[in-house]
Symmetry: C2
Subunit: 323 residues, 2 copies
């Protein structure tokens, strides 16, 4: 008990009640109480992170605290919902005060940057496991659902994809990726930037239709969006933004990173062509680069197009595992 009281102290900060936030009652009662803005809908997402599966045992605790919240914030971003708060449930094999302090530091730095306070949770002894549930709000009809893409829509991606995958291969010592781990690529893997400002800005654009966040790779997650919307897409491969770290890779590996990387936490979204100016404004206002990479088609297939407009087959590119 005393040990777990210690754990709680790392997460018990000045109560986030009253003031300018939505939190009526924070940590310490049977429930937290939030007051959403009048008429708004509540967006909810929950992710569980397990050692060896979602992170390495030797990951920096600050990075783990950051990433555990970032992947949840990214789900809110993909709906266009403004963050309100989150709960953290934590199973720990033992209470290591230094580890906890560093984990909390990474967690709260990101929470503060998004005005998304910790409102409750649970701690228990057990194999290391982190479960964060995050809450946001969005006006009715403005949520960016993955089933809302329409034939003729432009297809956009925020930022750039593939660096997290490159860093993962570098950490694994994969031959093609080399062993010199790029600091920037590693930061993309361990401290992803959720695109909440962009998501909220897009939710206010009338012509913005569907969105999904990229956790499993661009092509795979696009597949989920297309399936939910009953449409297809063409990606113009030369339009994909390529990070400097990826430019020296063999073409097949570069495409694998770009399209099947995973852990990107960028937004993939669709919008009517008439909304191009509004999308550019949302990008500028949120300080988030976006790139138009293709379009949504009525034919329910995903086609990759090369520089000359030719269809590039999936299998030949070494990423047939998402075909």
């Amino acid at each position: 008990m005393g040990e777990f009281e210690l754990i709680r102290r790392h997460f018990q900060r000045a109560p986030a009640t009253g003031g300018d936030g939505a939190v009526v009652l924070g940590i310490g009662d049977d429930c937290a109480l939030l007051q959403p803005s009048p008429g708004h809908q509540l967006a909810i997402s929950s992710d569980m992170l397990v050692e060896g599966r979602h992170f390495f045992a030797d990951v920096a605790p600050e990075a783990l605290g950051h990433k555990a919240l970032a992947v949840n914030l990214s789900d809110l971003a993909a709906m266009g919902a403004r963050p309100l708060g989150f709960t953290l449930a934590l199973a720990l094999p033992q209470a290591d005060s230094d580890w906890l302090a560093r984990f909390a530091q990474g967690l709260f730095a990101l929470a503060d940057a998004h005005a998304c306070p910790l409102v409750g949770g649970d701690t228990t002894r057990g194999p290391l496991n982190l479960c964060i549930t995050v809450f946001g709000e969005v006006k009715p009809g403005q949520a960016l659902r993955r089933d809302a893409a329409r034939a003729g829509d432009d297809l956009y991606v925020s930022g750039r994809t593939g660096e997290a995958r490159l860093a993962l291969e570098q950490l694994r010592g994969t031959e093609w990726a080399g062993t010199a781990v790029e600091a920037e690529a590693r930061a993309r893997l361990e401290r992803p930037t959720p695109r909440n400002a962009l998501g909220v800005a897009l939710s206010a654009v009338a012509g913005a239709h569907a969105a999904i966040d990229l956790s499993d790779g661009l092509a795979g997650d696009l597949g989920h969006l297309l399936q939910a919307s009953g449409v297809g897409a063409e990606i113009h491969l030369p339009a994909l933004p390529v990070a400097p770290a990826l430019q020296g890779l063999p073409e097949a590996r570069r495409l694998e990173c770009l399209l099947a990387g995973g852990d990107d936490y960028e937004l993939l979204f669709t919008a009517a062509p008439e909304a191009r100016e509004a999308i550019a404004l949302a990008s500028a206002d949120s300080g988030t680069p976006v790139t138009r990479i293709g379009r949504i088609t009525a034919a329910p297939s995903l086609r990759l197009l090369g520089a000359a407009g030719q269809v590039v087959p999936f299998g030949a590119q070494g990423f047939d595992h998402f075909a």
Copy 2:
């Protein structure tokens, strides 16, 4: 992937969208979307259950599904919040279809009984771990907070306490508890009944002030309520409701079960004496027995009183671990 697609299927039911509930969008997108009633506050609680700590490895999966949700619903009950929905994050060492089907059966039976649909979550491979986050709604000012008890309030408990503890000792083979496990007591341990109808009814009683749900034992949880409210209490021991299964126990053991049992998931609450009639009505309307067991005092201590009004010392009763 295929394996975890299988897992998801056990939890993917007819989409709980539209219709009479608050669910705008259920499982399958980046976030679930809920529409709370106009002006209501949102109540949120999250609990993590770990094998060996919160349940035995050989517990019936139906019972585990029931209990994982019940302990969360109980937190909503203690705030007087009406359930809206929940998320489930689940780490499993392997996908055992029979186990999952039975777990889902227990989970959904309780969810349906409380009109509290599963709206999202996560599944991953890892040591068995269940994290449920539950959402409810309550009118502003009606939440039953644990810091709201006032000197002079009556002190009530719903149902009766101690049977879960007796069953736990029986399952452990403790000498004093005997080895003949009482079916009713075991049901109290493995399938607790969250008191949501009572909690919602109490939230509408103007004189009802503070509440807490009993997870760690009556005396210990009362201590949390008293500390949060800056008050004390007297419990009239002969007033405590005693289950038939506890009546044959030595007095010290009986009191230990009643006061320091744990896993009771009853509501402990306070109300002004003027509200006695309204409390009786809330009890009748919700079909939940409640018993007045003492009163809140200005002096910030907890006193146990015997039949003749004498103070019964804590230490002598074998439950000094909550003193």
